[in-house]
């Protein structure tokens, strides 16, 4: 596969049944199109990882792609619950979903440890909460100099990390800016990576507060304009809040969810087709 490829080919080659897969994005730059492609290609037994699983993880879980979720906050921000996630945890539908639950700080520490090729990271966290009792990947470690007790969490090393960025150049160097969350760490911690971008350009102009991932740490770059919709790409689009709100009704029951996935995701071949099918417009950046 060449570094610049179609999203179809990248997912076909790099996302394998049973993989640990992180699609990261902190409200901004969520790789929605890539999530749909995983559903379309019928991946199974995935261990999904993300700090803030939102609508796209709700879809992956409801579509039966995942058997495990590692996360720190799973909701539809400003709207409410993730209905498919809840149905999986509360009622094992479409099948049981094992969960490994952390805090944001712990997940960030775990990605950073993975990016740095360390087996674990340390933080001041979790102590006194109910999490260590239920999550085996939280333990205590003693400072060898002060004797102080700190929390240790193992590195996250996904098989594949997938993120969305604003731009790449033809060599495959990737540039993202605005709120870039934990995406750099997610890509650097992973064995393989896919980056969908708004556009591929000849030259990347430096931008303040940008993160650049050089071509040699990215496995595949796919040009997918609006691939983060209904999330947004700063400078290209704004967040489609109406779409997030509408998700609540679609996902409320199994039938309406399944019909929606079948018609709009499984029944289409690209994210652009999906948007036409679902009748959504991408709100443009002002």
């Amino acid at each position: 596969m060449s570094r610049i490829s179609s999203l179809h080919d990248a997912v076909a080659e790099l996302v394998v049944d049973g993989d640990t897969v992180a699609l990261e994005g902190f409200t901004h730059l969520i790789p929605h199109a890539a999530g749909h492609e995983i559903i379309r290609q019928g991946r199974r037994d995935l261990h999904l990882v993300r700090m803030t699983p939102d609508m796209v993880y709700d879809q992956l879980i409801g579509a039966g792609c995942a058997t495990k979720l590692t996360f720190s906050w799973g909701g539809n921000p400003g709207v409410g619950s993730l209905q498919r996630f809840r149905d999986a945890v509360e009622n094992q539908w479409p099948h049981p979903l094992e969960i490994e639950e952390h805090s944001h700080a712990g997940m960030a520490t775990r990605y950073a440890a993975g990016a740095a090729n360390l087996p674990f990271g340390i933080l001041r966290g979790y102590v006194g909460t109910g999490l260590p009792e239920h999550t085996s990947t939280i333990t205590q470690i003693e400072c060898p100099f002060t004797g102080e007790s700190l929390t240790a969490v193992p590195a996250l090393r996904p098989d594949v990390s997938i993120v969305h960025a604003q731009r790449a150049d033809r060599e495959g160097n990737v540039q993202m800016w605005g709120l870039t969350g934990v995406q750099k760490e997610a890509v650097l911690a992973a064995k393989r990576s896919i980056v969908t971008v708004e556009e591929i350009v000849d030259h990347l102009e430096p931008v303040p507060y940008s993160v650049v991932l050089p071509w040699w740490v990215v496995t595949a770059v796919c040009e997918v304009p609006n691939g983060a919709h209904p999330s947004f790409a700063m400078g290209y689009s704004v967040r489609d809040n109406a779409f997030y709100k509408a998700w609540d009704a679609v996902s409320k029951d199994r039938e309406s969810f399944t019909a929606w996935i079948e018609q709009h995701v499984l029944g289409t071949t690209t994210y652009e087709e999906f948007r036409r099918s679902a009748g959504v417009e991408v709100p443009a950046s002002v």
């Binding site: 902190f26 409200t27 901004h28 700090m51 803030t52 996360f71 720190s72 906050w73 799973g74 909701g75 921000p77 400003g78 619950s81 993730l82 996630f85 809840r86 945890v89 509360e90 639950e101 952390h102 805090s103 944001h104 700080a105 712990g106 960030a108 520490t109 990605y111 950073a112 933080l123 001041r124 966290g125 979790y126 102590v127 006194g128 909460t129 109910g130 999490l131 239920h134 102080e148 007790s149 605005g178 709120l179 870039t180 969350g181 934990v182 750099k184 760490e185 507060y209 993160v211 999330s231 947004f232 700063m234 704004v238 967040r239 809040n241």
Partner: protein
């Protein structure tokens, strides 16, 4: 319109909570600009209202990595573009938690949740048993470390018997644990919850017992009402004040902010 803004009762309970939270930030600001770690929703609205009402204004830090954001309108989500555009600095999420929150650089953190117990521990994880929950909630998110490391924590929550419970089903973040001395035992460096702003009034931890105690009631709210809306045997401070209703000026500023 006179110099003294007229008092109006034409406000929602959300507005009541937001205004009271903003005032508390304003009181802190007078003693030195507080650095606030802000999520989305009521706390973000309160912090942004305080930025407009008080000088010097609180400094806003968002867990998405924005430091010193000065949004002109209310952010719809924690990753809202304007938060980055108006920030003094934008950093990664690992950095915001390690170098800023954990390092003790945050004066005030905000928390909310589905359940709050009398020691200000909060549950935003599950209702019922963890392995077989009756309701699976979003989870802890940033709360455990905000509760551990912020200089002080402000909780904004509607008060009800279902939400204000004797003991949380799950402890997503620690207030005072099982009582005095627990924060020290856990090695938590922050000061813990100092204020709980509700739709009925304000609770603060008792300096001796650490139990949340009603220190103020909103106008028209009776002690009986507060007791009935609390799942533990609610105590009242020696002197319980009545909060000043939101002023027209405060409400105007808030509504302008929300309409922007």
């Amino acid at each position: 319109m006179s110099d003294v803004a007229p008092i109006t009762e034409d406000y929602t309970t959300d507005e009541l909570m937001i205004v009271n939270a903003a005032r508390q930030l304003g009181a802190l600001a007078a003693a030195g600009r507080p650095v606030c770690f802000v999520g989305i929703g009521l706390p973000s609205t309160a912090a942004n209202l305080a930025r407009r009402l008080y000088s010097p204004a609180p400094v806003l830090v968002y867990e998405s990595g924005c430091i010193g954001s000065k949004p002109t309108r209310l952010p719809l989500s924690i990753g809202d573009g304007e938060l980055g555009e108006t920030a003094d600095a934008v950093v990664s999420v690992p950095e915001i938690f390690a170098y800023w929150l954990q390092a003790g650089r945050i004066d005030v953190g905000f928390l909310g949740g589905a359940q709050l117990d009398k020691y200000a521990n909060i549950n935003s994880t599950v209702i019922g048993d963890y392995e077989h929950p009756s309701t699976r909630l979003p989870g802890a998110g940033g709360a455990p470390e905000i509760a551990a490391s912020a200089g002080a924590v402000m909780v904004i929550m509607r008060q009800s018997k279902r939400a204000f419970v004797e003991r949380c089903d799950f402890r997503s973040s620690v207030g005072y644990g099982d009582g005095p001395g627990d924060r020290q035992r856990f090695g938590l460096q922050g000061g813990g919850p100092k204020w709980v702003i509700t739709d009925l009034g304000v609770l603060e931890p008792d300096p001796v017992t650490c139990e949340l105690t009603m220190v103020a009631l909103h106008p028209g709210v009776s002690r009986e009402h507060a007791v009935a809306a609390t799942g533990w045997s609610l105590q009242f401070a020696g002197e319980v004040s009545t909060t000043t209703p939101p002023t027209a000026g405060e409400l105007d500023a808030l509504r302008v902010l929300q309409a922007a």
